[in-house]
Each structure stands twice: as C-alpha cells, then as structure tokens.
C-alpha cells in the first residue's frame, strides 16, 4: 500500500501546485464563467476592464447553456466554482440553498452605480431571497406576442389582441381563413412551460401555496387559465405537436401560424426570415390581459451576475460586476448579443428608442411577476407542468385529471422542502 500512498501523494502535490497559480505577474486573476453567446461576448469587453484595472486579470470560460446547470452544480460539489459567474435568474434560489453565492446587500449599499432603483422592479425581485439580493441583473428578457400584421388584418384585426377574449376570437377568425389547410393561428408548444405559467399568473393564480410547500394548480384561477389554453388545442387553433416546427421563423414566414409568444432573442432571427414583402408585416406587442384591455403579466427572465461565496477576490469580482453594469457596457452587450440590458438607463439610448420592435418589451417589462423562488421550481416547471400540459393538450387526460395529477406530483417533489421547513430552522428557504 505504500506504493499507492506515494501515488496519491504525488497526485496531490500536482493538484496543489497547479491550484496555486492564481497570481500571475503580481496580477490578481479572477475567473468568470459565462454561458453561450454571452460568455463569448464578455471576453471582448475584458480588455477595457483590464485597462481600467491594471492589477486585475479576468479569465473567461464559456459553458454551453444546455449543460450549464449541471456544470455549475458539479463545480460546486467539487469546490471548483469560479469567482464570479452568470446565472439564469430562476436558478438563484438553488444556489442560495446550496449556500454557494454571496449576499450582495453590503456591496450594493456602498456602491456608487448599482442600486435597485436603476432596474426594472420585477427583474430585481427575481434576485431577492427574503430581503437579501444575491445577483445583479446583467441582461434581461421577457415574453411578448410576435404577430403577423397582414394575417391579423385579414382576420379583421388592425391591432393585436388586447385581452383573452380577443386573442381567442382572432385565432378562430384566422383559422376560418384557411378552411382545410394545415395552418394554425398561434403557436403554443407544450414543451414550453412558461406559456402555461404566464397565463396562470395573468389569471391571478398563485402557483404554489402554504409557503411554497404544496402545489396549487387545481385552484380555480389556474384552472381558468389552463382550460383557456386548452381551447386552442381542442379547436385546432394551435398545433399540438411541436416537431413539425423545426424552425419557428420559417414557419411564421410561411404563415403556418400567425402569433407566437416568445422572448427578445427572436427579434434578430425574425428580421432575417421576414424579408421582401413580409418585411413590414410583423410586429411585437405586450401580452393581452385576461379581462379588460391592457397589458397582461409576463415572466421576468434573464441572467444575473453572482459572486462565489468562497472567492478570495470578492472586492475585485465586485469591481467586474460594477463594470459590466455600467450603461456603456450594458449597451455593448446588447450590440454583441442582442440581449436586452438590465439597466433602465441604457434603454434611453437611440438604439432602443429607434427600434420599433423594442417598445413592446419595454412596456412588458413593467408587467412581470417573479416565479416561486424555490429550488424545486425548475423540476416542477420543466418536467411536471410540461408533462401534464402535453397530456391534457393531447386529450390523454381531462383538464381536471391533469391538474389533479400535477398537484399530486408537485406535492411529492416538495416533500423534502416541507421536511426542511420543519426541521432545519436555519435554512434559507424563503
């Protein structure tokens, strides 16, 4: 066994030696993990930061969105998280529960340029657990209605639908335009939980109850929204499957559907696909409200910047957060990635005021509501809501059955949370 001992020892020495290289040429090296295009874009902003802060060097690693969460949590488990990283704002509760990221309240308090007042309220709230803020919004998104002006006009609508009644009415009218053709009015893919949640929130439903420890999907309000959406599938106003739509932009350009609820990342692609005659025939609009005309709620999405709780370079990391949150860099990230800036001030720039598609997003951002801030939310949304929405849309279950099963499954998922609420008093669960 001494041999093995030596092996282990030498391996440990190597690990130790490589771990100690965080200071290069007396410069402090902070590590940043960004996801997808944002990770790529941020590396272009770094030279400017390093020029302003000659003693700090930033190392960026890109991680793909599809594997981001797995990677971050594995990194946490092996104590390898970077000093600072990008986090989808619905993941913040999870990383707070893991005790992996810093409470930024003390830093925000003394910061010259970061203040909750500079951000959209709904977005800022997604970063709060209790009263503590754990992430600084970096870029944001929210879902609005993309629609084909020409098709809606043919159906007798000069304006986009303003409320639920109009939305289903225009959909029915669009459908009658096609008779036997395989075309639809609106695209509501069942593998996108956010649609079901958005309409639920609009109807005033609280998705969970009793301190987020039980499902509340069978409630009258959520059922109203769910049944409303099911009408679109049952009346063939929306396609039930989603495999026919390999490319939503192409489908929209071909008039396969005339309306689509999605986020700002579609704007650029839409522009590319809507060419020639179609160039001016599409628009964005805030979501319709349930009853009276107005703006319905949407989701506050986007990514925040968070700081590792165990970082040695907390101050330097914060400097980088402040740098990325400056109005100039916020515009820069929009130019590089088309991600909407979190900072309200950046929206005053002509780049946004001259972009007609952006108005809807700006208006919609005033009407958002955070999702339940619990670790289990991702699982509830991605696996359970989508599963039962699909079952109901394909009439494998009635609406009541689907919601009953949804609640039962959600209650099972939340069992651990209930146990923790009871037994682990110190736990940051709120």
């Amino acid at each position: 066994m001494t041999k093995t001992g030596k092996y282990i020892f030498s391996i440990l020495v190597i690990i130790f030696l490589t771990a100690c290289t965080n200071k290069k040429n007396n410069k402090i090296v902070i590590k940043f993990w960004g996801m997808g295009v944002e990770g790529e874009a941020v590396s272009r902003l770094i030279p400017e930061f390093e020029r302003q802060n000659p003693t700090i060097k930033v190392e960026v690693q890109m991680i793909p969105w599809t594997a981001a969460q797995e990677k971050l949590i594995s990194a946490y488990a092996s104590d390898n998280l970077p000093d600072i990283f990008q986090l989808g704002n619905t993941w913040i509760p999870q990383f707070v529960a893991l005790d992996a990221i810093q409470n930024l309240n003390p830093k925000v308090k003394f910061s010259k340029n970061i203040s909750s007042l500079n951000y959209f309220k709904g977005i800022w709230e997604t970063n709060l657990i209790g009263k503590a803020v754990y992430g600084i919004p970096w870029y944001i998104d929210t879902r609005v209605l993309f629609y084909r002006k020409d098709i809606l006009k043919k159906a007798g609508y000069d304006k986009p639908p303003q409320n639920w009644t109009e939305l289903i009415d225009v959909s029915k009218k669009i459908k009658t335009l096609y008779k036997n053709e395989d075309k639809y009015a609106i695209y509501l893919p069942t593998n996108d939980w956010s649609i079901f949640v958005i309409f639920g929130l609009q109807a005033g439903a609280s998705l969970l109850k009793d301190n987020n420890s039980y499902g509340n999907f069978s409630s009258r309000k959520f059922k109203r929204a769910f049944s409303y959406l099911m009408k679109f599938y049952y009346n063939k106003l929306a396609p039930v499957g989603f495999s026919e739509v390999n490319n939503v932009y192409q489908a929209m350009a071909q008039g396969y559907f005339a309306m689509y609820i999605s986020g700002p990342w579609n704007v650029k692609e839409m522009k590319e696909w809507m060419k020639g005659k179609l160039k001016n025939e599409w628009m964005t609009s805030p979501l319709p409200a349930p009853d009276s005309a107005g703006i319905g709620l949407s989701l506050p999405g986007g990514s925040s910047l968070v700081i590792n709780k165990k970082t040695k370079y907390s101050k330097e990391s914060w400097k980088f957060v402040e740098f990325l949150s400056s109005p100039k860099m916020q515009l820069e990230i929009y130019k590089l990635t088309n991600d909407l800036p979190a900072l309200k001030k950046a929206w005053k720039d002509s780049i946004f005021t001259n972009n007609k598609y952006m108005k809807a997003f700006y208006e919609q951002l005033g009407y958002t509501k955070p999702l339940p801030k619990i670790t289990e939310w991702e699982q509830i949304a991605f696996s359970k809501i989508q599963q039962y929405a699909e079952y109901a849309a394909r009439r494998k279950m009635t609406i009541d059955e689907a919601l009953k099963h949804l609640d039962a499954d959600v209650n099972k998922i939340l069992e651990k949370r209930r146990w923790l609420l009871k037994n682990a008093k110190d736990y940051k669960l709120r």
Partner: protein, 296 residues
C-alpha cells in the same frame, strides 16, 4: 495473504496501480451509489450531508409506483427486443454480403457501412431530423409514392420510438458487421468445399456451417448489443428528449433526468441498480439459452 514466491509478489506489485485505480474509481463509487440509493440524497444534501435522510427501500418502492419508470422500462424493453434482433439481422446480412467472393470493391462498402458508427451522433441526429420531417422529409416523400400519407415520425407517440430504432440500427450495425466479418473469415474454407462436394446448397451451408461456427461471435454480439441497447440514452436525448408523451423515454434517460437535471441522486441511483439487475438477469438468460442450443 501468503506469497509463495517472488514471481507472485512481483505480479501483485505490478497489479497494484491498476487494481487500486479500479478500486478507487470503480468499486468505491459503485458502493457509494449503492448506499446512496437508500437515501433521499438531493441538491439540499450537496451542501450539507445532514440533509440526506436514510429512507431504506423507499426509493425502490416509489420506483415501482412511478408510472414514468414503468413507461421508461417498457420503452427500453421495446427498444431492446426490436432494435437488438433487427440490428443483429442487418449486420449479419451485411457481413455475409460483404464476405462474398463475388463482391468487388469490398473495402469501399465496408468503409461506407462503417461510416455511421464513427460519425458523431449529434450530426447524425440533425440529418435524421430532416429525414423524418413530416412535411419536407425525404422519408415521407418516398413513402408518398406508395400512397402512404404523411407520418409525423418524431411527433407522433406511436412512431417516435420506431423512428429512433431505425436511426440507431442504421448508425450501429456497421460495428457488429465488422465483428461478424472477422468471425466469418475465421471459418475454414475447406468446410464449405466439403459441403459443396456433398451437394449442400447455399442455405444448407449457411445453416449447418456458418451459423454454428459463428455461435461464439453471435453470443458476444448479442450480449454487447443487448447491453448497449438497454443503456440507450444519446439517441432519444438528442432526437426527442424523451417525448412526445414520454414515448421515447428510456431508463437511462430517466435516470439522467432525475440525477443530473433535478439532482435527485438517491432516486437516480436506485434506478441505476434496478437497470443493473435487469441487465444481469438478461445476460444470464442469454448465456443459458446459448449453452442449451450449443448442446443440441
């Protein structure tokens, strides 16, 4: 233990690195996973082990009451029972054709059939998604000539799994084919010559010489293919993410989802051990069948 002479002790010393690597990186994790399958280890427990509860057989009991697990199990068996024999049939046929003396340009054919095996699955999946496209896909276009209407291959719960089976057989048969070719080339030529002299036709030669002589190869391929198909993951993961209506959800995909998407590690470990047991039993059965047929 007592070492009898210097040769054995030298052997042990040389084996130590390999054995300790296996011990550290295989046995310990397997044991840890086994213990984990009796706890509710989840994301909360990552930061504080005290938040994992020892729950005995609850994970296993819950598994047996989990409709999704049964669905995944049924899908996996469907996959193994259809794709397994199909894949072996296709690869054996291809091997026989490629081994024929009359065939020219053998290496080109061999290369072509082996190509899908070495192609990245992601690239293959993208191409097949287009082949399967309900409106513009070439498959539906070709089927149109036979008067078969548009099939939503990946979107219809009845067709999604067969579609994935078709793709993975196409992708994987080349590998088994190469092994079969090697097996075929090991069969001495004089057996066929003797059989020809005795007046045996091609089919009789195949039945009485090729098949029995290939038996060990076939056993190896059957087991490897079966285990591989039991562990099917990447194909549904990339093509359909388990949908539509969970019709392509496989056991390993379900295990992955529970473990690395939702971090229910305890539950996920329980799924892994159930799958292990199933594969073990299936392998034993195959050995038994093969032995019996060898004795006949």
């Amino acid at each position: 233990m007592k070492l009898k002479n210097s040769t054995t002790s030298a052997a042990y010393i040389f084996l130590t690195p390999a054995l300790s690597a296996i011990f550290i990186f295989f046995f310990i994790p397997v044991l840890a996973a086994f213990i984990m399958s009796f706890t509710d280890f989840d994301i909360y427990s990552l930061s504080d082990f005290g938040r994992a509860r020892f729950i005995g057989f609850d994970n296993y009991l819950q598994l047996f009451n989990d409709p999704l697990f049964w669905k995944a199990l049924a899908n996996t068996f469907y996959y193994v029972l259809i794709a397994g024999p199909l894949s072996i049939f296709v690869s054996l046929s291809a091997a026989l054709l490629l081994n024929d003396k009359l065939l020219k340009f053998k290496s080109i054919f061999r290369l072509t059939y082996f190509m899908p095996v070495v192609t990245t699955l992601v690239a293959v999946a993208i191409v097949w998604r287009f082949i399967y496209h309900p409106k513009f896909g070439i498959l539906n276009y070709l089927l149109g000539f036979f008067g078969i209407g548009n099939i939503d291959w990946l979107g219809d719960p009845h067709y999604a799994l067969p579609a994935i089976i078709l793709m993975s057989v196409w992708k994987n048969f080349g590998y088994n084919m190469i092994i079969f070719i090697a097996g075929l080339q090991n069969i001495p030529e004089y057996l066929y010559e003797a059989a020809t002299l005795d007046g045996a036709n091609k089919w009789q030669q195949f039945k009485n010489i090729t098949l029995p002589m290939l038996a060990p190869t076939t056993l190896f391929i059957t087991i490897i293919t079966m285990i591989g198909f039991f562990q099917v993951f990447a194909e549904p993961y990339i093509m359909t993410q388990g949908g539509p209506l969970d019709s392509t959800l496989s056991i390993v995909l379900y295990m992955y989802r529970e473990g690395f998407r939702w971090w229910n590690m305890g539950y996920s470990a329980a799924i892994a051990f159930v799958l292990f047991l199933i594969i073990l039993i299936a392998t034993i059965i195959q050995f038994k069948i093969q032995k019996k047929s060898a004795m006949l």
